[in-house]
């Protein structure tokens, strides 16, 4: 999954902060799908909140390096893990 696909997905969820985490509840027209809720940890929440229409991986990576005091390799790995996890979740 790329960041643009993820940006489009954002409008299909209602998000709420609970402490350092984020809950995502899908907006759905079908009762059978309404119990699929997702929670994101602090890193996931940061990535989710900083994605906009034209975001690139390197921009998010730089924001993470500034905010979490981590190096580029770890930031990149976190983003890839996040996107890969969401790809599995939203299949």
């Amino acid at each position: 999954m790329n960041l643009q696909t993820l940006h489009k997905l954002k409008s299909r969820f209602v998000a709420r902060n609970v402490g350092n985490e984020l809950i995502l509840v899908p907006l759905t027209a079908n009762v059978a799908q309404m119990n699929e809720l997702f929670t994101l940890n602090e890193t996931g929440k940061f990535i989710w909140e900083n994605i906009n229409e034209n975001s690139t991986v390197s921009e998010i990576e730089n924001l993470m390096i500034e905010s979490f005091d981590i190096d580029s390799a770890i930031a990149k790995m976190d983003i890839e893990l996040f996107l890969s996890k969401l790809e599995t979740t939203f299949k």
Partner: protein
């Protein structure tokens, strides 16, 4: 001849009015109240026959259905919500049509009359739908759960169908405790305290209320085990068992706010249990106080 009936669910008053005779299903009868107060929290005007009106700017926003059946559809029409309830005997037949205004306070319910002319406005599933929107309007949630009140504490047990809500209720009941209900509850906040209420079911039971002290997310297990959870995990897991129509962001945010606050005041546990009376002592010995 006009009919006026008042019922109270979770201490919220509902006024039903019709020019026809209203028939309430048996489960609603203990919830009928006598009052001289003119005002009610919500009003329902009930009519006979389904109108053939077409609604302006009608947009389908939600469908209550499973793989084999469609139970109801919700449309938005201007600022109103329109509910179309389908007959489960004849899936192409509309059983009822209901309109809820934007304040979520005023319903119009149209029902096909019975042979004797009576109408049944709160016939399943519209009755629970009305209760659900009552919780959306007021500070409350409706949840698939059982609630047990012992001498001291109100405990809610929630989980997927088959996970043991009724089993646990029976175990507590056999030990002499009160069951508020073992299937559907309303949790409502009043005066900084959360309370659990039963709702009208298909069988007769009197209205009950219990102060809420803890919530357990239950599953069967070879050993009794309990783990306290908090934060986003607790909120999302409790929300998963709340009855909800997820088409309106504001409705979802309201529920998330309610449950975020609830989970900071009421402890939430994951409970794996052996279906025998050992679970009662296990809970009593292992639960810890929440910060009420």
């Amino acid at each position: 001849m006009s009919t006026n009936i008042r019922i109270a669910i979770a201490e919220l008053s509902i006024g039903l009015h019709s020019e026809h005779e209203i028939l309430l299903e048996d489960g609603y009868l203990p919830f009928v109240i006598e009052t001289n107060k003119a005002e009610t929290d919500i009003t329902i005007n009930c009519f006979a026959n389904i109108p053939t009106t077409t609604f302006a700017n009608k947009e389908l926003v939600f469908e209550g259905k499973n793989e084999s059946q469609r139970f109801y559809s919700i449309y938005r029409s201007n600022s109103n919500l329109v509910f179309v309830i389908y007959s489960q005997q004849n899936k192409d037949e509309i059983q009822q049509l209901a309109i809820l205004d934007e304040t979520l306070s005023n319903w119009k319910i149209y029902s096909t009359p019975l042979d004797n002319g009576e109408i049944v406005p709160l016939k399943y599933p519209l009755g629970p739908i009305v209760m659900h929107y009552l919780t959306v309007k007021f500070d409350a949630v409706m949840i698939h759960a059982s609630c047990v009140l012992d001498n001291q504490k109100g405990r809610v047990f929630t989980g997927f169908s088959g996970n043991g809500k009724s089993t646990l209720s029976k175990i507590w009941s056999d030990a002499g405790n009160m069951i508020v209900n073992d299937d559907r509850l309303i949790i409502r906040k009043q005066n900084n305290r959360h309370y659990v209420y039963n709702t009208p079911m298909y069988y007769i039971d009197v209205p009950k209320k219990a102060a809420l002290d803890s919530i357990f997310l239950i599953s069967h297990s070879p050993l009794n085990k309990v783990k306290k959870i908090s934060g986003a995990l607790a909120v999302s897991k409790v929300l998963a068992f709340c009855i909800q129509n997820n088409f309106e962001p504001d409705f979802i945010q309201t529920k998330l706010i309610f449950l975020t606050e609830l989970s900071t005041q009421i402890p939430v546990y994951e409970l794996g249990f052996v279906p025998d009376k050992s679970v009662i002592n296990f809970i009593l010995e292992n639960e810890t106080e929440g910060t009420k």
